[in-house]
């Protein structure tokens, strides 16, 4: 019933129930399962007169090994949507399904499992743990996943090498530049081989060249490891990398664009 290119679902309530009832059948492209699906997602901060609708009925679908961008001006609800998709925050109403499993149904421990091994997060503010070294920051999720310390260290060093920070493994976040911290965060996000990589404005605080290298890493992970990547961003360089772009404005998905159409229209759409 939905368009294969994942256009905005018009009637969220009715479409939502049927979608849950037949998850496999509702997938428009067989062999390309839906990894993330949101149904009528609402988020309201504050209450009464001060209430702001950060999200107002968002429905979207992300397929496996897709590279998705969420774009929009600041304050449009990008980060909120990103947090919801990552099961980091609770929606005021609506549902988030990750691999057709309702996140709200998961226990605290199952959520921790999900966040630890299945989703990797890269935050705009990096959110590294201040007192741990780069290597310790990378190995901590592996410790949470129960990996022995020596194997975690070995893998941590490999990942730091991947992001080009092997020689800085014993530096604390405060001793590193923004780009370096961001790359540590990427290494941390990858350490448990996640299925989904969520990146909240991964290039926002970085200079052009560093941003470029971060994006290359993301693209490589997407292509080599079939990891689903969702970026919230307003960096236009991302547009050429991703399959689809969700434009968010005032808490709603305004537009969904496919790469094919975008490359043609790029010049005229945004500037």
């Amino acid at each position: 019933m939905n368009e294969p290119n994942g256009q905005k679902i018009s009637n969220s309530a009715s479409a939502g129930t049927s979608a849950i009832a037949k998850p496999a059948g509702s997938s428009p492209t067989p062999g390309r399962p839906v990894v993330i699906r949101t149904l009528g997602l609402n988020k309201i901060y504050g209450r009464g007169d001060a209430a702001t609708h950060a999200l107002a009925g968002v429905d979207l679908m992300v397929y496996r090994s897709e590279f998705i961008s969420i774009m929009g001006p600041s304050g449009s609800g990008k980060s909120t949507l990103f947090n919801m998709i990552g099961a980091l925050d609770q929606p005021s109403s609506g549902r988030i399904l990750i691999d057709e499993v309702d996140v709200a149904q998961l226990s605290a421990d199952e959520l921790a499992f999900l966040r630890c091994r299945k989703i990797g997060y890269i935050f705009q503010q990096y959110h590294l743990i201040a007192y741990l070294t780069a290597l310790e920051n990378v190995t901590t999720p592996m410790a949470f996943a129960g990996l022995p310390a020596d194997r975690a260290r070995k893998r941590g060093m490999e990942l730091l090498d991947l992001v080009g920070l092997a020689d800085r493994w014993d530096h604390r976040p405060i001793e590193m530049s923004g780009g370096q911290q961001q790359r540590v965060a990427i290494a941390r996000a990858l350490c448990n081989n996640p299925m989904i990589l969520l990146a909240d404005e991964p290039t926002a605080n970085l200079d052009f060249a560093t941003g470029q290298s971060v994006l290359e890493i993301l693209q490589r992970i997407n292509q080599e490891r079939q990891v689903t990547v969702v970026c919230s961003t307003h960096d236009h360089r991302l547009l050429s990398m991703c399959e689809r772009v969700f434009w968010v404005r005032d808490g709603e998905i305004e537009r969904v664009a496919h790469r094919d159409e975008m490359t043609i229209k790029l010049g005229s759409i945004d500037e």
Partner: protein, 520 residues
């Protein structure tokens, strides 16, 4: 069904060793902050330790001083009883304590036990034995037969009932108490009320004020109109007997002959019950008061006063027995003083002077702890009870400890909500986060408790040593008491630290990661 892409499994909790490792790294990173928290905790524990240990020391030292001084004060009282009959309050108290000693006895005996441990010098003393002696005397003066026995036990029952009345009257509001008793004591009021006319008026008044009588009106009436006159009768009989006994021994000069067995036998024949230990005490008391009289006599002489003043470095006007005794702090000065006295024709040897001075100074220290005439009362009242003032002080310091510790820990934890949120984002179980905070707060709590207790211990020992000197160290049960105070305050500090940290950490850990991030 297709196999799900993402299988949700069970997340493991972070191991203990790994938690400790992370806590160590974290604490080292924020060393200054941890140190400040630690210091705050330690101060709170030290404060608790000081007030707790101080209360304990005061209590134990008072009990100890009481067992040291009581035999002597008892002997003093006995000397008075040889020339003056007990008044009604003395009789009441003796009967009450005797009765309680026979019935309940726990508290009183406990003090007796402490006495026998610590009171080596003064011989075994316990308030209970002294009171059974007094009861024996009363029996003897009432005639010494079965009827007397019954009369004494009846009087004791009545005395205990009066004590209940007294407790009741004490609980009234000050205004109501004043209205009920005016200025008179309960005993003299009881005398008035036991006249039946007075009883009717009392009932009227009590009704007016809305008082409830102890044990109901009927039993109160019975007590006032029947029992109290009986008690009065017994008291008069005891008093008469006591006066007769005093008359019988009036021609004995105790100061000269108190050690004479015949004299002691005569006194016993008059009905006084004095144990051998008490005789020793009395003899000693008489001996030393003779010495004091002698020195006092000598110091009347102005020339001698001037010379003694020269020796001790004080003005001749200031030279008095007590001042002189207070100044003697060794055999040398005693020698010089003895020589000075000898030159003026008074022969008291230096040893005696020094011994008297030591006795005097020790008594002064004990009295400074107890207060005049308090030793026997403290011995009688069960001493291990904590006074209201102590409770208030302890409660207050506990409150300060709670507020200080919670504040310190709360600051330390709320500061780290962001860190908790990050940990949750990368897959930490609530349990793992709690593990980190429990271990960290336990480390802080243990370190703070130990250092706080040590600081408190040093301070309290210094303070008490300055205040009490040698008396502190000879007090029995001091170490165990200090250990108890240290243990309790350390435990309180540790528990508070852990609870104050775990509370907010638990709150933060249960929130969704981004909610916790927003709180910070």
């Amino acid at each position: 069904m297709t196999r799900p892409l993402i299988e949700i499994g069970e997340q493991k909790r972070l191991g203990f060793f790994r938690c400790v490792q992370m806590v160590m790294i974290s604490m080292r990173y924020r060393a200054l902050r941890s140190l400040v928290t630690l210091a705050t905790l330690a101060l709170a524990v030290a404060f608790l330790m000081i007030s707790g240990a101080d209360n304990m020391i005061t209590m134990r030292v008072r009990v100890h001083a009481s067992t040291q001084l009581a035999p002597q004060q008892l002997a003093q009282r006995q000397l008075v009883r040889f020339v003056k009959p007990d008044d009604i309050n003395d009789v009441l108290r003796s009967l009450q304590v005797g009765q309680i000693g026979q019935v309940g006895g726990v508290g009183v005996e406990a003090v007796g036990g402490v006495g026998s441990v610590g009171g080596g010098g003064g011989g075994a003393w316990s308030p209970r034995s002294s009171h059974t002696q007094v009861l024996d005397e009363y029996r003897a003066w009432l005639g010494g037969d079965i009827a007397a026995e019954q009369q004494v036990s009846l009087a004791a029952d009545i005395a205990v009932q009066l004590q209940a009345w007294e407790t009741w009257a004490d609980r009234l509001s000050p205004a109501a108490r004043a209205a009920l008793l005016s200025d008179a004591s309960l005993v003299s009021r009881m005398d008035q009320w036991s006249d039946s006319m007075q009883w009717e008026r009392l009932i009227d008044r009590l009704d007016q004020w809305g008082f409830k009588l102890p044990d109901g009106e009927a039993s109160a009436k019975h007590f006032i109109t029947e029992d109290w006159p009986k008690f009065r009768e017994t008291f008069v009989a005891i008093n008469t007997g006591h006066a007769r006994a005093i008359a019988a021994i009036s021609d004995i000069d105790l100061a000269e002959n108190s050690a004479n067995p015949d004299v002691q036998k005569n006194i016993a024949a008059a009905g006084f019950v004095i144990s051998q230990d008490q005789w020793t005490q009395i003899n000693e008391l008489l001996h030393w008061s003779a010495v004091r009289r002698q020195i006092n006599e000598a110091l009347r002489d102005t020339v001698l006063r001037a010379r003694v003043g020269q020796v001790l470095g004080m003005k001749s006007k200031e030279v008095g027995l007590e001042r002189v005794l207070g100044e003697i702090d060794g055999a040398n000065i005693g020698e010089v003083l003895a020589n000075t006295l000898a030159e003026s024709g008074f022969s008291i040897d230096a040893q005696t002077i020094v011994a008297l001075a030591e006795r005097y100074q020790r008594e002064a220290v004990l009295l400074s702890v107890l207060g005049e005439g308090q030793a026997i009362e403290i011995g009688e009242a069960s001493n291990n009870k904590i006074t209201l003032r102590m409770k208030l002080l302890l409660g207050l310091s506990l409150l300060v400890c709670v507020v200080g510790v919670s504040n310190a820990m709360l600051m330390a934890v709320t500061d780290r909500f962001r860190e908790i949120a990050t940990m949750k984002c990368i897959g930490a179980l609530d349990g793992s986060i709690m593990g980190l905070f429990v271990i960290e707060s336990t480390c802080l709590g243990v370190l703070a408790s130990v250092s706080g207790v040590l600081v408190g211990l040093v301070l309290v020992v210094i303070r008490s040593t300055i205040g009490l000197g040698a008396l502190l160290w000879e007090t029995p049960g001091l170490a165990s008491g200090l250990l108890l105070a240290a243990g309790l305050s350390a435990l309180a500090g540790l528990l508070l630290a852990v609870l104050a940290a775990v509370g907010p950490a638990w709150m933060a850990a249960r929130l969704a990661p981004m909610e916790a991030m927003r709180v910070s």
